[in-house]
Amino acid sequence: MSDPRKAEPLIQARNLTKHYEKGQTHALRGVNLAIKAGEFVAIRGPSGSGKSTLLNMIAALDRPDSGEIRVAGQDLTKLRDGASYRAHVVGFIFQLHNLIPTLTAFENVLVPMLELKIKRKASREKAETLLHQVGLNGKADNLPPELSGGERQRVAVARALANDPQIILADEPTGSLDTSNGEQVIELLRKINREHNVTLILVTHDKEVAGIADRVIQIRDGQIVSDK
């Protein structure tokens, strides 16, 4: 199983289980999943169904109790610290309070690159390009409290792209936004997914958002109940 065959999907999960509070809460109960490079996958499900838990597993932010998860040829359960994997493979966007409040938009985008030994000049140029790409070139020096909710999420998108990730994981990135701002952010992510062939996995409550995705996975009580 460990030999990387040509057809091996980018993300492969087998029988993932996870429970919290000494077995009281079953966040995941036997999740099997395969996602190919370049896919746009939406994950839906009621609150507490295990969507964030699954996303955290793919980000190596959390470990399964049992089962196996491989991403880009790496066995995530064997990583001592997922940081290096995240620094190189993944870009993460949260629902709220994504940004370091005392750093400007520009500096927030620089943060992941501090871990990557990128030359100062190159990283500054890259941060500028990314902010331009998300339509925020005029707000580079604004602090998060000086930005609107939509702008903040676009900074988070720019930051998620700073390490040229293969995968972008977004946990309800539009959950705190109004419809039009939310659409803007989703469109931006979709564009990135198409133009850079970045795999996009997005947790959402929104039916319309899910409608744009290539594939929608429904989760209920820690299990996948539909995958279309």
Binding site: A83, A87, V111, L114
Partner: protein, 372 residues
Amino acid sequence: MSFWGLILKNLWRHKIRNGLTLLGVSIGVATILALGLLMNGFEQSLGETLRAGKTDFSVMSADAPAILFSAIEESKLEEIEHLAGVDHAAGSLLAITSFLNNPYFFSIGVEANDLDFLGVKIVEGRAFGPQAPDEILLGKTSAGNGNVHVGDKVTMGTKEFQVVGIYETGNAWEDGGAFANLATIQQWQHKEGQVSLVAVKVKDGFVADAVASTLKAHFAGQFVTMHSIAESENFLHSVGIMQAISWAVSILAIGIGGIGVMNTMTMAVFERTREIGILRAVGWRRRRIISMVMGESITIALIAAVLGFIVGILAVKGLLLVPVVKGYLTPVYSIMLFVRAFGIALAVGLLGGLYPAYRATRITPTTALRHE
């Protein structure tokens, strides 16, 4: 923004809190530095007293607990001078009196023709005459402190003297005292025929150590000789006590400063739980988180060191403005002292940063991100 820039930015967020911690550490550094400067000066002055002028070593009585209590019969001077290898031996009698609101004023009685030999340089007026019992030389510092000039009359204890000159030896203790005829001080102190110390110069071609051994053997253990400060047990004892005090203060400073930094940084880490979670989520390794927290605490300590140097130097300068202190304490600056104070500050930063850095690595991104 660089990693370093981020550290400074983080510190700047709590400028008052961090500033107060920094102030606390800098007071510790200042105390260590000031103590060290004065102790260095004390060591050096004492050392110079024992190595006065052109002498190779000094002789004092073996049973005296301190130089001041040393008593040697003046008649032994000639005996010493006749020993093989001795070129010249000069006796001096030390006396402590109250003078110019200084209760511990040093007067030294010597023969007029030994002044030059003992390194006493007249900077104003002239030396006292060999047969002039009322003439006195005042040290540069004591003359300055008492605003006394050549030609003035001064009263020491019950005796009146005529100031005929001002001298300088470069030794803080001596420059804060006075020189008069040996006979005058002997009479005044009722110590006729007695001296405290004998300064010895050996002839060319002789080794001071060997001559000193001959001398000690000749007087069968009656006398001890001091070549350098290191040989004075008494001196070593006082220096030892002072060093112990200075170490105790340093350890206290490390303890208090370290806990202060630890407290501030632990608070900062707890307050930034979510942020640290974000940094971990975007790929920062634990090592970098540790570097960030330790970097912040070390930066506090190093800025405190620089501030402490300034405060310490100013404090010593301020202390020297006090008349009684002036002249008796001369700070002696040495690189080692600054290196030590800096090292102590660095230790404060390192120790203070360890616990909060450890706490920061225990923050798991998933729980941190649930943290509002």
